[in-house]
Point group: C2
Chain length 229, copies 2
């Protein structure tokens, strides 16, 4: 059985004070609803766990009811850091679940093809992540003032979500991070701690995350282009 | 005296065959016109050199005439690689010019504030580049299949343009690259060859480059937001 854990507990401080970015209207509907719908309609996913800010569980249940979502879902409260939220989400999965796709609530353009491809790669390898080749020229700077080294763009990948795992792999990886007192913002980094290789799954379509106000227009355009095909 | 070299000679193969991306309509006007206008109206820039595909010089002159551009400009033919195009552009500058901002023709959202900030930093340091902190999680992969290392995002910068230099610095840097038979796609990398430090100038506003069809909607939104303030 496969599951998705949608992480929707962040504060999104880069959107400005007092803005809950997951409820920002995108094409007239809350951002999180678009993301959720992607997994609701993906045949390769059997159940969904949403990790939300404590107290918002009824609002999420109401959304599912309004939009007649039929796939089994559960809402659990997030922790203080992303890693804690993922941990709580994993704890809420059905016992029969053996593969889990962990996804950012603020990435509403993910396609079923990409979800399925990360599930297939994770079934084989244990861990897989949606990624795109970096198109920007990236430099390293030790002091934030001058360039200290040039990186070879051909070897650089921007990793996104879904980050998809055999359930026992990601549980073991995050348990290891927790036992070392580490707080990782990226689930594939936890895999490194236990020596688990992570497969890159190249995404074809844009899969942006809403982080800053300027991202909204681009995300709306991507959603329009997805729904028109 | 300060100059801008606008590199507008690329083929833009990622836009699809037969598309000259610099003449793509963006909000009803050719992409390159938006970029050019940014430098036409920037008080900190005294003259403009456009590096264009050979044969297109009359089309560019006609654009300037139609839109009543008044700042002195020259059109020169590009070379086979970006580095050659920049070299040709630098050769066409007025003798009195001592600072030059090199800019991608496909980056139409650059602000006057950013151009001026790179000019000021280059006057001081010799070389400066518009840059933004990387918001994506970036991984290195040696084989394009699995992640081989995790990079510290806090040290990563996406460099854009303008890349701005004291004229003698960038001439010396590119001459060095040419004499070594190197073909660099990024002018700051040439500075490394001659030991010239490059200052990062953090841009506040989005400064995207039109590379793929999906970029157009985002760039249009950025231009609307710039013109509305």
């Amino acid at each position: 059985m496969t599951a998705a854990v949608i992480v929707a507990a962040g504060q999104g401080t880069r959107m400005g004070p007092g803005v809950d970015k997951l409820f920002l209207p995108i094409g007239g509907q809350p951002l999180i609803l678009h993301t959720w719908r992607r997994f609701e309609t993906a045949a390769c996913v059997n159940e969904i766990v949403l990790v939300v800010r404590d107290g918002l569980q009824p609002a999420f249940a109401e959304l599912a009811h309004q939009h007649r979502f039929l796939k089994p879902f559960r809402c659990v409260a997030g922790g203080s850091e992303r890693q804690d939220s993922v941990w709580n989400g994993l704890a809420a999965l059905s016992p029969a679940c053996d593969l889990v796709a962990i996804h950012d609530g603020a990435r509403p353009c993910v396609t079923e093809a990409l979800i399925a491809a990360t599930l297939a790669a994770a079934r084989e390898t244990g861990a897989a992540v949606a990624a795109q080749r970096v198109t920007d020229t990236i430099k390293q700077s030790e002091d934030g003032m001058v360039i200290s080294s040039h990186l070879d763009r051909n070897k650089l990948w921007a990793v996104q979500t879904p980050q998809t795992f055999r359930l026992e792999v990601i549980r073991r990886a995050i348990a290891e991070a927790r036992s070392r007192g580490l707080n990782l913002t990226d689930d594939t980094a936890a895999c490194e701690l236990i020596g688990q290789p992570v497969r890159l799954v190249e995404g074809v379509d844009p899969n942006p995350k809403v982080t800053r106000p300027a991202d909204v227009a681009f995300v709306e355009a991507c959603l329009r282009s997805l729904s028109s095909r």
